[in-house]
């Protein structure tokens, strides 16, 4: 069915050049994403340096239990993604489809848990502007405004990550459907490879986010 499609775009000399160009493009795109998140990491680090106690206190109210589960989920999804790429290059279509579907499912599971976590955060009164208890923090001798600063960064960083993850899930989902229709093959594996790169990047961002946000100071409980 896909034999009639030429893989080689007309402006490339050969498939090798095309693949190298595509890979280079994706890596550069990921570099720009590093810079995007870098702004948030920089701002967060700046404030954490000036408000260490408030940030530590606020961090300990985050739900590390769900955060931990989500980390396992995401790391597993990276495994399934790698397997999907392998399966594509090896021509194993059923494995390819299964792994892509699993990756998308695991990603969606992450989002579900994240939504649950946000809901719990709401009930824990950790949402500035919507539900937040100033007195509770004042009683602990922590400046509530500094806590709100931490929480702003928490929501923006995890929110931006979730946005990237959603795009990834959509991308993988579409590829799963295309894989089911036999679009990818050992010759035409690049799209899955590139999607894999993107997916791993999103995973790596989470690996940085988790300790940065959830593991400030010493905890006495998981949630």
């Amino acid at each position: 069915m896909e034999a009639s499609r030429t893989l080689l775009a007309h402006h490339f000399r050969d498939l090798d050049q095309q693949r190298e160009a595509q890979l280079a493009g994706m890596w550069i795109f990921l570099a720009t994403e590093v810079l995007v998140f870098g702004v948030l990491f920089t701002g967060y680090t700046a404030y954490r340096t000036i408000y260490p106690e408030a940030f530590a206190a606020a961090s300990q109210h985050l739900n590390l239990f769900i955060g931990g589960i989500n980390t396992i989920v995401l790391l597993s999804s990276s495994l399934t993604m790698v397997l999907a790429v392998y399966a594509t290059r090896a021509g194993r279509r059923r494995m390819q489809v299964a792994c892509l579907v699993l990756t998308a499912l695991l990603g969606t599971l992450f989002m579900v848990f994240k939504a649950a976590e946000y809901t719990i955060d709401y009930y824990d009164e950790l949402v500035p502007g919507m539900k937040f208890n100033q007195q509770e923090w004042l009683a602990q001798r922590v400046n509530p405004r500094e806590v709100q600063l931490f929480l702003m960064f928490y929501y923006i960083m995890t929110g931006l990550h979730a946005l990237h993850l959603s795009i990834g899930i959509g991308l993988i989902g579409v590829q799963a459907v295309l894989a089911w229709r036999g679009r990818f093959s050992p010759a035409n594996y690049m799209p899955v490879d590139l999607a894999g790169l993107y997916w791993h990047f999103v995973d790596v961002i989470w690996i940085f986010l988790l300790p940065l946000l959830y593991l400030v100071g010493t905890r006495t409980s998981l949630a």
């Binding site: 490339f12 160009a21 720009t32 998140f37 701002g43 404030y47 500035p128 405004r145 600063l149 923006i156």
Partner: protein, 549 residues
């Protein structure tokens, strides 16, 4: 003969028909709006940014008209604030940053390296659409009043105090930022992966080196801007401080993040213009460039060092003296590669055979203005002086010397240089030279008085000022009128030349470079046969490069 394209095998006899080029290979709106040909996309960009330049220039005209008198009597204070904000935003993001890369870069890069197109043609088209979307959002918002925060959006004013449309404008800029990023990405991958056989790094034209360095900055700096604007929007919407000191935020954090992008941004603007000069000088002096490797490395050095100096915009903002000193010394170091380039260009003229066509006049003008602008940058990098001239007209004069006297003249040089290639027509040379001189003198008259005004202490963004500053302001506004007239001239005669200009052959300037080895206008695939490169660039002295048509 080695740089010339090997002739194609003799085609079968055909009735004499004009060979198809990228312009007449297909007609109709769809063929333009759905094109993936880098040359057509370049023309799309040309139309778009010309429009933005006109709009930004209109805002500038109103500003200069207001400043003829010391009192604010042409427009209201709020309108004036919206005008200078609109002028800055439009000119910076919708003209200066895209101009040479998206027009000349898109058109010429694949040809210069012997490729058929950029690495990602559809992404290229997407870049243009994203750019247009960003521009549309910003323009629509400006028509509804725009913003009054200045193009710099400093909080807490922009987040807590201004009642204007900060979020839509920020969104428009953010969108156009993605266009920049994708263009930069495209260029970098193209230069790395699509060079013709034999085109090693040190055989690349210096224009490519400049655009490569520009693209590195585009890729690494623009995401920072996108994020910073997003944070400003978040703070405005939620009312929670990231930068607002009333909420324990730090307005200086914004300044650091903003200038981390915005200083490299000015190198995004000027590096391509430098690349143009590196092409034009050898061509019109009929000599190879002096110190090729130094100029190439200087471009990269400017890009790298340019990331290290952002704090020089904040010397009086409240950073520590140690930070100030660090940024000051780094700012002096970043000036050195620019100086190296100026010396190399000047040395290229030595024992040359110099002709003064319009591209060359503009290029010489670039060097003069850029030298002056760059030297006044040293004044600003000087801590003791900057305290006095920060946020005055001295700064305005400095950056207009670089951006208008430098970058826009570089753009005009490029436009005239590659116009025959892009359109297959020659523009009227006499008018070209007249326009160049008008722009040169109009520019000097507009901005030289502003150095004096700045040292006097006249602050930026003032719409009324003490009466003793009036004479210099009137001179500046008079100059602006001449400058404006100078810009109208090329608009007219370039458009005229599209229909009535003399047809141009493949190489009217007798320039080296692969783009001149193909027809004017080029065919869609650029070359009949992929060229092979075996000689160094700018080999004017070795070869008799035929000056054809």
């Amino acid at each position: 003969m080695s740089t010339l394209v090997s002739p194609a095998p003799a085609p079968a006899p055909q009735p004499a028909a004009a060979p198809k080029n990228y312009l007449n290979v297909a007609y109709g709106l769809k063929s333009w709006l759905l094109t993936t040909d880098h040359k057509r996309i370049a023309i799309l960009y040309l139309v778009t940014i010309s429009l933005m330049f006109i709009l930004g220039g209109l805002a500038a005209s109103l500003i200069r008209m207001e400043l003829i008198t010391p009192d604010g009597n042409l427009v209201e204070a709020q309108t004036y604030n919206q005008l200078f904000s609109a002028h800055g935003i439009i000119m910076v993001w919708f003209f200066l940053i895209p101009s040479i890369p998206t027009v000349m870069g898109n058109f010429v890069i694949p040809m210069m390296i012997g490729a058929r197109d950029l690495a990602f043609p559809r992404l290229n088209l997407a870049s243009w659409y994203i750019f247009v979307l960003g521009a549309a959002v910003v323009l629509w918002t400006i028509l509804r009043g725009g913003v009054d925060t200045g193009w710099t959006f400093y909080p807490p004013y922009s987040t807590s105090s201004s009642y204007t449309n900060v979020i839509p404008v920020a969104a428009g800029i953010l969108i156009s930022g993605f266009s920049s990023i994708l263009t930069g990405l495209n260029f970098v991958v193209t230069v790395h992966r699509m060079r013709a056989p034999g085109m090693t790094w040190f055989r690349l034209p210096l224009f490519i080196w400049s655009l490569y360095a520009t693209s590195i900055i585009l890729i690494l700096a623009t995401p920072v801007l996108a994020m910073v604007l997003l944070l400003v929007a978040v703070e405005r919407i939620t009312g929670f401080g990231i930068f607002d000191p009333a909420l324990n935020g730090d307005p200086l954090l914004f300044q650091h993040l903003f200038w981390f992008y915005s200083h490299p941004a000015v190198y995004i603007m000027v590096l391509p213009a430098m690349g143009v000069v590196s092409e034009v000088f050898p061509c019109f002096a009929r000599k190879n460039i002096f110190g090729y490797r130094f100029v190439a490395f200087a471009s990269v050095a400017i890009a790298v060092f340019g990331f290290l100096v952002w704090g020089h915009h904040m010397f009086v903002a409240g950073q520590s003296a140690y930070a100030a000193m660090t940024f000051s010394v780094l700012s002096y170091l970043v000036a050195v590669p620019s100086a190296i380039k100026v010396f190399n260009w000047t040395a290229t003229l030595y024992k040359g055979s110099i002709a003064f066509d319009a591209p060359m006049l503009y290029a010489i003008g670039f060097i003069a203005m850029f030298t002056m602008g760059g030297l006044t940058g040293l004044f600003l990098a000087c801590l003791g002086l900057d305290i006095h001239v920060h946020d005055t007209y001295f700064v305005i004069a400095h950056f207009h010397f670089i951006m208008v006297g430098g970058m826009v003249m570089g753009y005009m040089s490029a436009l005239h240089f590659w116009w025959p290639k892009m359109t297959g027509r020659k523009y009227p040379e006499g008018w070209g030279r007249l326009a160049a001189l008008t722009i040169f003198f109009g520019f000097l008259m507009t901005f030289l008085p502003q150095f004096l005004l700045g040292y006097e202490g006249m602050p930026r963004r003032y719409y009324h000022y003490p009466p003793e500053f009036q004479v210099l302001n009137v001179m500046s506004s008079a100059g602006a009128t001449i400058l404006g007239a100078g810009y109208v001239l090329p608009l007219l005669y370039l458009l005229w030349s599209l229909k009535y200009g003399k047809p141009a052959g493949p190489n009217p300037w007798g320039a080296t470079g692969l783009e001149w080895q193909t027809r004017s206008p080029p065919p869609t695939d650029n070359f009949e046969v992929t060229p092979t490169v075996t000689t160094e660039p700018y080999n004017y002295s070795q070869e008799e490069v035929p000056r054809g048509g």
